[in-house]
Symmetry: D3
Subunit: 163 residues, 6 copies
């Protein structure tokens, strides 16, 4: 027909999930913000704007879980039916743990990883005036449940080859 | 007046930048995706959807640079006047480098870090079917130029206290 | 483990609704725009841009019903399956009535209140050039149906303690 | 030409502001949430999720100031260069005061009113489980500065005809 | 009641689809970009940025399928559960074919047409520096399946009266 | 360094416009909706929802002009400082003319073409229940002014090679 066809197996596509069953699925991911101890002290000790650092980061993370289909080109629009973002403060780092839940057709692993990442970025945004070298690291899936492949848990200290 | 006032120094606020001059500013940030060598081989060798992995991640990163004000609660709406996202492939990792530019009133450090992060998340989204343990790490500012504080460069191997 | 845990009952979270059944639910809310009679006369009499005031406000309201998950940090992403916005014009006020419907897992009360509010703000946006003192008021739920708690109707003249 | 032209003075249009000068402008608006005293007591006394009520509402308001061009069909895309949202708690009401600032081509009155409104809606979203009759009211401009028309202040008790 | 009611059959409304069944539905639409042969040659021959023209347009189209509820005022929020965008290159034109799929309550015809249109606009955005007269044309539905009305296919050469 | 660099001239990038001067620029584009005469008659004669067809399409178009940076991956975030969408009705077609204006660093050609396209899609969305074969066609730039390249006008009947 005089046309050269350009689609093929290598093309980006949003995979068809119409045949997948809506079931309850969850995912938990973590991220870590590395920060100079003196900055962390200021952060928790009240000499810089503080209480709201946690609230701003938490809310940024929850909202980001809802923006996955907008941020990730091949992600599906699905219902996001639950999301939490919590923090743990160590000597030189803040650990962020995000959990997302759905009763829809796809897993919510990317929603959890995106929530953890954006909570971390919001934290960096508030810290960078004090410490430009702040680093966001260790964004990874900890656990998923539901769906055809069922439950998966990261092994202790288990990391991918590049760790 | 019978009212208890709840605002204070600890409240979240979008800092007033109306007095800052619009000048040319840039920022460069990096992120790293750690991935099992066999997955990386498949990724670059063509046995999984490939060419577009780079395009999807690059475009996701560029678009994310434009979504900063939406993702980060206290970020300002500014013009984003240039953005690039590039990749380097090692034995067990992919390094993402994002650069953003503006001729507006604030720095674009968060735009660069967000672009690198979301490019990485888009890559994770495409890899996770092959390797759930994939990890996004080392998101940090490499350099900024322009604005009142001028140029800043991360020192070689220089990381924050928690590294 | 050396970490101080920061999550608790007071933290913002998107409540888990995965266990709620998808059923037909509706909500109706109202808002009122108070406006100087001479401005209202101009508005309805054709000496200012008019026909479209209603269309712009109506469409802004319908679109806002779809933006709830984006505007309200803890709101869920749900399907919005029906929305109407109607107006009643009095001597010195315009009454806005918004109704939203869904067949999803949560109520649509906030969708209806957001639709009424944003329709009102769009109206204010078009009126403020004529009358800066224009006021948007009385945004409240009138009725909801469906879901576990069933039907609720505001009592006549029933307002909360502060009315 | 056989065509019937449908545009006219009554059509919605985004007014051309290319000729307006970028100058520093600000606006302050208020909104009030009316709430049963016992609910307000729970809210401030800690028997319901609380600390974050203020943070969630504040952040929702700040983010909404940035969404004006998306929410209001005829609003312009402009830089939003500063935003604050504060609260005052009375016996049966919460007063929200939002201030927005820009160094761009249009006023930010609608940004301030939208911030106050959406902060109020976010508060309603968190209160409605306790009190469905909660009402959002009194959304109005208090002051604006800058631009061709200069400073305007609402007179004490000054309301529009419908008050 | 002293109020003039302004709603009527002619008002914009988001039609209530709560009673429609969630079933598998699909739609395919096409669009055509008309472009000078020498530009097309440059485009496919590598003297202008190329490989990514297809990737950028494809991704823009897939993402646009997810933005229908945001772009079209009366469209519903539904799940988008599959999307592809492919290209065929002729002597003086590029044909875009977009297919969308859902397991939700409404058809996805507008999602397919929007995907084809925005893929075309993204292509125009990259071509316009070379050829300002580039034209996007022939955006139309080719086929739909599922839902109450079942399958529909455009007849060969079948166009509407104005073709 | 053991890394393979993947960026090159063929990669998608948001071109740097920080050096371009903010000046007044405008663009006008058109689109045409081809529709069966009997449907057009119903549309203008009142036996289908009508008045609002024009308002919905006009508002969808104006709002789309503001969404260019979100829809087109390589478009810049710029101020949109004026937008109009008008209609002309012929025997079997509706002609849409969109004009956009800015005082910012890039041209607004894509804003005008996107406004015309999305106004057309909104119209298709309302017509498709009556006529599935409705077609959106002839989306093209008519004129641009301002910027380094100054004024450009499409020649009468002038179309690209593929017309």
């Amino acid at each position: 027909d005089g046309f050269t066809h350009l689609s093929g197996d290598g093309s980006a596509r949003m995979v068809d999930v119409t045949a997948k069953a809506p079931t309850i699925r969850s995912a938990t991911a973590e991220a870590t913000v590395l920060v100079a101890p003196e900055v962390l002290e200021a952060l928790t000790g009240g000499t810089v704007p503080k209480g709201d650092v946690w609230a701003v980061a938490r809310i940024a993370g929850i909202q980001a879980a809802k923006k996955c289909a907008d941020l990730l080109p091949l992600a599906h629009i699905i219902g996001v039916h639950g999301a939490t973002v919590d923090f743990e403060v160590g000597a030189d780092r803040i650990r962020i743990v995000a959990t997302t839940r759905t009763a829809d057709r796809t897993g919510v692993e990317m929603e959890a990883m995106t929530a953890a990442s954006v909570a971390g970025l919001a934290m960096v945004d508030m810290i960078k005036g004090l410490d430009r070298s702040v680093e966001l690291t260790g964004i990874r899936l900890l656990e998923k449940t539901g769906g055809r492949s069922g439950t998966w848990r990261r092994e202790a200290n288990g990391t991918t080859g590049g760790a």
